[in-house]
C-alpha cells in the first residue's frame, strides 16, 4: 500500500496451525467483505446502495458468527491465525489472529454493521453512496484493529478509522458538524501519533536487545519467539521484549500509549471531543462511535498497556483509578444538567467508560473480566439509546428535552424500548450492564494489599487478628493491588448518579404530560422527509432494536459462557502483571501473587 504491492502469499503462522482444519481465511474475510462491498456500492446506482450495504454487512455478520462457531473457546492463546507476508524485510506482516476478547469485539462490530445500515434507511437520503461506502470502510478498519497481530497493521487500521468517521460526521451531521469533525479528528489523531511513538520505541527496544539479556531471562524464549532481539512488529514478540524494559522505560511507554488510547476511550480529562462528536454525528455514526470506536481505546489499553508495561501499570494504577473515579462522578453530574438528550447520553459514556477502565486497572480477574464485558455491554445499551434518540430526532427534528416530553402517550412501543435500554444502562441486575459494572467494582474493591493474604492462616487463626483482618489473616477474596474499597465505594456513587440522570431523562421525555415541538402536527404532516414514518416505531425500527434487546437480556441472565471464554486471556494478563508486581514491591507481595507468579 505504501511502498510496494504486498506479496499476498499466505504462510503458515504457527506450527500447529498446519493441523488446523478450520478455514484459514475467515478473519481476512471479515475485513475484505466490507471493503469489497464498499467498492460495489461505489459502482452501483444510488438506489441500490442500502440493499448492497445491508447484504455486505449481513455476510460479514455470518462470517463473524462462523468464526465464533469454529473458535475453540476454552483454549488459551490466539486462534484462526493467518499471515500474509508483506514488508517482511521490515518485520511487517499482515498477521491476523484472535483470542476470545478480540473475537467478542469483532462480533460486536459485525452485529452493529447491519443495524447501522438499517437505522439509516430514512435518515440518510442525500449522497447515499458516499455514506454507505464509508460506513462499510469504517467497519473494515474497526475489524482490522481487533484482529491485527502485527503492530503496524494494528496502527494503520486504528488510524484509518478516523477518516470514515470524519466524513460521516462532517457530511451527514447536524448544525455544528464541521467543528465537531475537525476536533474529533485532530484530537484523537494527535494522541495516536504519540502512541505510535511509544509503540515504535518498543519495536526499537526489541531490535536492540542483546542475546545475553534474553538468555538471562530464559533461553527457551527463543523457541517460542524467534524474532526476539530482531527487528519485528509481531505483537506477541514485542510483548515479551517490552517486559524486559526497566520500570522507567515502561513508565514512558505507558504514558505515550495512554496519550493515544485514553483520548480514544475517553478518559477524564481528555474527553471533550466526545460530547461534541456524538451530538453532531448522524445516528449510525453515534452508534458506531459509542459501540465500537471507544472500545478501540479500551481494547488497546488491554492489549498493549497491560502486558507491555506491567511494572508501570502496577505503579500508576491508583493514578488512573483516580482519573476514572473523577470521570464517573464528573461525567455523571454533567449529564444531569443537560437539556440536549443526545448530549446527555454522550456524556454518560464518559462516566460509563470510567467504570470500564477502573475495572481494567484493578488488575485482577474479576475486574478485567468485568471490564471486557463492559466494552460489549456498553456498546449494546448505549448504542441502542442512540438509535432510540435518532428515531425521535427523525420525527421531531429536535433533541431538546424542553421541547419534548411525555412521549409514552404518543409512542408506547418506543417508550417501552427506551425504558428497557435505560434500565440496561443503569445497571439493573438481570440485564447485561449489571454483570460488568458489578465485576468492575468488585475488582477494584478486592485489589488492595491492605486486605491481607488470600491464603495462609486458617479461619480459626483469623480470630486473633485485629483491624481489617490483615497481617496474616485469611482473606480469601483479596487480591494484590493498590486500589481498594475506597475506589469502589466512591466509584459506586456513580451508580446513584447514573440513576439520577437516566431517570431524569426518562422522566422528561418518556413520562409526564405530552410535549411536542411547536408547529409539529401529526395529523397534517406534509413534510416528505418523514411522511414515511408512522407515529410510533415501524417494523424496521423495531427490528433494529430487537437483537440488541435480546442480547441485553441474554448477557444479563446467562453471562457464564462469556465469563468462561474470557478466563484464559485474562488469566495470562493477570499473571504477567503479578509477576511484574513481585519485582516492584517484593515486600508487599502477597501469597496469592507469589503463587500465581510461580505458576
Amino acid at each position: 500500500m505504501l511502498y510496494s504491492v504486498a506479496k499476498l502469499v499466505p504462510t503458515v503462522a504457527q506450527a500447529d496451525a498446519a493441523l488446523d482444519s478450520r478455514p484459514p481465511l475467515l478473519l481476512p474475510m471479515l475485513v475484505v467483505v466490507p471493503l469489497a462491498t464498499a467498492l460495489l456500492i461505489a459502482a452501483a446506482p444510488a438506489a441500490r446502495a442500502r440493499t448492497i450495504a445491508l447484504l455486505g454487512t449481513l455476510v460479514a455478520l455470518v462470517g463473524a458468527l462462523a468464526a465464533m462457531l469454529v473458535f475453540r473457546w476454552g483454549e488459551p492463546g490466539f486462534q484462526l491465525a493467518c499471515e500474509f507476508s508483506w514488508l517482511s524485510h521490515l518485520g511487517i506482516n499482515l498477521s491476523m489472529a484472535v483470542d476470545s476478547v478480540a473475537l467478542m469485539l469483532v462480533a460486536l462490530t459485525a452485529l452493529l454493521g447491519p443495524i447501522c445500515v438499517q437505522a439509516s434507511a430514512t435518515a440518510i437520503t442525500d449522497r447515499v453512496k458516499t455514506y454507505y461506502a464509508w460506513l462499510l470502510i469504517l467497519q473494515a478498519a474497526m475489524t482490522g484493529v481487533f484482529i491485527a497481530r502485527d503492530l503496524v497493521l494494528f496502527y494503520i487500521c486504528f488510524e484509518f478509522t478516523l477518516v470514515p468517521m470524519f466524513i460521516l460526521i462532517s457530511l451527514y451531521g447536524s448544525t455544528n458538524r464541521k467543528k465537531a469533525a475537525i476536533k474529533f479528528f485532530l484530537y484523537t489523531f494527535t494522541g495516536s501519533v504519540i502512541a505510535l511513538a511509544g509503540l515504535v520505541y518498543v519495536a526499537w527496544f526489541n531490535s536492540h536487545l542483546s542475546p545475553a539479556v534474553i538468555n538471562a531471562v530464559g533461553a527457551e524464549l527463543w523457541q517460542t519467539f524467534p524474532k526476539l532481539g530482531k527487528w519485528t512488529f509481531d505483537i506477541a514478540t514485542l510483548e515479551q521484549a517490552a517486559q524486559l524494559m526497566s520500570g522507567r522505560q515502561q513508565a514512558w511507554v505507558l504514558l505515550a500509549l495512554l496519550a493515544g488510547f485514553a483520548v480514544k476511550v475517553p478518559l477524564f480529562p481528555v474527553h471533550t471531543w466526545l460530547p461534541l462528536a456524538h451530538t453532531e454525528a448522524p445516528t449510525a455514526g453515534s452508534v458506531i462511535l459509542a459501540g465500537v470506536l471507544l472500545k478501540l481505546g479500551t481494547y488497546a489499553i488491554f492489549r498493549f498497556c497491560l502486558p507491555f508495561c506491567p511494572v508501570a501499570v502496577v505503579e500508576y494504577a491508583p493514578l488512573i483509578g483516580v482519573l476514572c473515579v473523577i470521570g464517573i462522578l464528573y461525567g455523571g453530574l454533567i449529564c444531569w444538567v443537560q437539556t440536549d438528550v443526545k448530549k446527555l447520553v454522550a456524556y454518560s459514556s464518559v462516566a460509563h467508560l470510567g467504570f470500564c477502565i477502573l475495572g481494567l486497572f484493578a488488575l485482577n480477574h474479576a475486574g478485567i473480566s468485568g471490564s471486557i464485558l463492559y466494552m460489549i455491554n456498553h456498546g449494546l445499551s448505549t448504542g441502542a439509546l442512540f438509535l432510540l434518540i435518532g428515531m425521535i430526532y427523525e420525527r421531531y427534528h429536535t433533541r431538546s428535552m424542553k421541547e419534548l416530553g411525555g412521549l409514552a402517550a404518543r409512542m408506547p412501543v418506543w417508550a417501552t424500548f427506551m425504558v428497557f435500554f435505560t434500565m440496561a444502562s443503569v445497571g439493573l441486575p438481570g440485564l447485561n450492564g449489571f454483570v460488568s459494572e458489578f465485576l468492575c467494582l468488585l475488582g477494584a474493591f478486592q485489589a488492595s494489599t491492605a486486605w491481607g493474604s488470600a491464603t495462609g492462616i486458617t479461619a480459626e487463626g483469623a480470630l486473633d487478628q485485629g483491624l481489617w483482618g490483615s497481617a496474616g489473616a485469611a482473606v480469601p477474596g483479596a487480591t494484590p493491588g493498590n486500589l481498594g474499597p475506597w475506589f469502589a465505594a466512591i466509584a459506586g456513587i456513580g451508580m446513584i448518579v447514573a440513576a439520577m440522570y437516566l431517570l431524569y431523562m426518562v422522566g422528561r421525555i418518556v413520562w409526564g404530560p405530552l410535549v411536542e415541538p411547536k408547529g409539529h402536527d401529526h395529523a397534517h404532516d406534509g413534510d416528505s422527509a418523514h411522511s414515511a414514518l408512522p407515529v410510533d416505531l415501524c417494523g424496521r425500527e423495531v427490528g433494529v432494536l430487537i437483537p440488541l434487546a435480546v442480547l441485553c437480556i441474554a448477557l444479563g441472565v446467562y453471562p457464564k459462557p462469556a465469563l468462561d471464554a474470557l478466563s484464559e486471556p485474562v488469566k495470562s494478563v493477570v499473571m504477567t502483571v503479578n509477576a511484574a508486581r513481585s519485582t516492584v514491591e517484593p515486600s508487599a507481595m502477597t501469597t496469592a501473587a507469589k503463587e500465581e507468579a510461580a505458576q
Partner: protein, 732 residues
Amino acid sequence: MHDGAAGVTAAGAAASGPWYAMLIPILPLAGFVLCALCAVFRVRSKLPAWITVGLLAASFAVTAAMYSTVQGTQITTVFQWITWSWGSGPGQSFTANFAFYLDGLTCLWMLFVTGLATLIALYASEYMSHEAGAGYCRFFAAFCLFVFSMACLVMADNLVLLYLGWEGVGLCSYLLIGYFYKKPSAVAAAKKAFIVNRIGDLFLALGIMLCFVHFGTVEYKEMFAQAAVYTKAVSAGEIEKVPLVAQLIAVLLMIGAFGKSAQLPLYVWLPDAMEGPTPVSALIHAATMVTAGVFLIARTYPLFLISEYAMPTVAWVGALTALLAATIGMAQFDIKRIMAYSTVSQLGYMFAGLGVLTSVGAAAHVFTHAVFKAMLFLACGAVMHGFAGQLDLRKLSGVGSMPGWRIVNVAMLVGSLNLIGFPVITAGYWSKDTILGEAFANPSMQGVAWILLLTAGLTAYYTFRVYFRVFVGPQSYEPGEELHAQHDDKHQGHADHGHAHDQHAHGEKSGASHGTHDFHPHPPGWAINTVLVILTIAAFAAFWPIKGTSHPSHLGYIGQMMDASSAAYDPHHDAAMYQFAAHKPAPGEPRSHATFFGFDAHKAMMWVSGFVALIGMAIAYFLHYAGRTSATHSRADSWLPAAGPLANWAKHKWYVDEFYDFLIRKPLLVLAHLFHIIDQYLVDGIVDALGWLPKGIGRLIRPSQSGELHGYAFGMAGGLAVILLIVFLVTN
C-alpha cells in the same frame, strides 16, 4: 429447565430441595410474559387480570406444597448465573447461581407474598377496570414482574441473586408508582423512590463485595459456615476477636435494608410512593417489598450477631423511625398517606424487634402487618375508588353507615384494631407485644423499649383518628377530582360503573356539605368485597400461626419456621450475645433479664401495651368522634393551638424533605452546573487553545492546508510513510 436434578449442585450439609420450588418464581414470570403479549396483541378485556390471578394462585399452591415438604435447609439450583473460576485456590472463583435457599424463613415470606399477591391481583382486576386496554396490561405485567423479583429476593441462595430481586422489586415499584405517568407528581415520586433506594443499594452492593473479600463467597451456606467460628467467639464473650471487616459487613447490609424498608434516614420515598394505584400501595409499599429490609437482616442474622455495632443500631434506628413516622402520621389529612407513615412506623417496630434479638417477634409482626395493612390499604382504596379519588379525612364522614359499604367498614375496623394491637383478640397485639416485651426484657435496650411503648399509644391515636372521622359519625362527602380527570380521558371504562357523575361533578364543588348533588359514591363490587372478606378472616386467623402450638418460648408455627432458618437464635445457648452491646459479660454468665418496675417484662407488657392502645383509642374518640357534627371540624381543632408549632411542624413532615433538598440535592445541582461550565470553558478551553497554536503557525504555511478531506488522508498516509522510512533507515 424443569429438570431440577440435572442442575442441582448443592454440596455439603444442605440437601437439594424439591425441583418444583423453581415454579414459584417461574409462574409469575410466565404471567409477566403473557401480560406483555396481551399488550402486544392489544387485548382490551380483563384477560391479563385473570392470567395474573390464576398464575399467582398456582404459585401460592406451590409455595404451600414447598412448606409442607421442606425440612431444614434445602437448595434448589436452576442454573449457573455469574459463576466462573479462574483457578483452584481460595477466592479464585465466583459463584452466584440462580439457586434457591429453602428454609423456614423462605417459606414464611413466600407464603404471605404469593398469598397476598393473589388476593390483591383479584382486587385490582376490579379496581383497575377503568384502565382496560394497554394500561391494564402494563399494570398486570409489572405486577407479575414484581412477584417474580420478590421471589428471587426471598428465595435466593446467595447475596447477588438477592440483589437481583432487590433491584428488580425497585424497578417494579418505579414502574407502578409512575403508573399514572401523565401526572408529574407520580413521575417525580417514582424517580425519588428509585434514587433513594439506590443509595441503600450501593451500601448493599458494597456489603456483598466485602462479604466476598472476607469470606471468599457470597453464598449463604458457605458464609454462615465461616461465620460460625466468629459466633463461637462471641458466645465466649470475646467479640474483640471478630475482625472489624467481618463486623462491617453487617453495617453495610443494614444501610441497604434501611433504604428498601424506608427507615431513617432513607424513609422519605415511601409516603410519596402513594402516588401509585392503591393495590400497588397495598402489595408493594405495605405488605411485601418494604419488608425486604427486615428479610435481609433476618436472612443474614448470623452476620449481625457477630457485629458489635450493627444490632444496637438496627434497634435504635427502628425505634426512632417508628416514633418519627407516627408523629407525622398524626398530623396528616390524606388517609392513604397516614397509612403510609403508619407502614414506616410499623417497619420501625420490626427493625427494633430484630435489634432486640427477637427475630421471631419481628417475623411475626411482618406477617400480621402484611395481612392487616394490606387490608387497611385496600379498604382506603375502596373509599378512594368509590368517592372519585377523595382521600381527605376532612371531606368524608360516616362512610361505614352508607349502603353497600358495610364490608369495607368491617374490614377497616378489624384492620385498625390489629394495627393498634387491641388486646387479646387481634393477631397484631401478639406480634407487637412480643417485640415490646423483649425490648423491656433487654437490659441494654430500655430506651428503645420506652420509645416503642410511646409509639404504640400514638399509633392507636392516628389509626382511630382515621376510623372515627371517615367511617363513623354524620354522613357527609365531597368527591375528589383526581380520578375525574382520568375518567374524562377514558370514557370507555365507565360503561360498567353506571354513574353519570363524571360529566357534572366538576364545576359544582363549592359549599354544600353533601358535595355535589349529582355525585353518587359507588360502593365496591364483588371482587373488592370478596378480597376484603377473605382478608378480614385472615386477620383473625393470623392469630393461629402465632399462638397455634404451645412452643415453650416461641410464637407457634412462625416460631418453628424461624427456628428452622438462618434467623434462628437461641438465647440460652448464645447467652453472652444477649448483652454484648451493653457490657462484656464473663464467660458462662447467665442470661440476665431486665424487669418492668419489678415485674416480668413479658407478662407486664401484655397488660401495659394493651392499656396504652386503649388510651390512644380513647383520645381519638374524644377528639374526633364525640360531638362531631360535620366532616370538616372536630374537637381536635380547638385543642390544636395547645400543641404550639409542633403540630404544624409535624404536618410539614418535620421539613425533612426540604432539609434533604437544601443539604444534598441543591448543592449537587450547583456542582453539576459548575462542572458543566468547567468542562466547556476550562477542560475543553485548554484543548482549543492548544489547537489554536498550530493553526497560528499554519497560517504561515497555508497553501498546504487545503481543508479537503483527501488532503488529511494523504497527510496521514504520508506521515506514516515518513515514520516507516526512518525505521527502515535505522534498521539497515
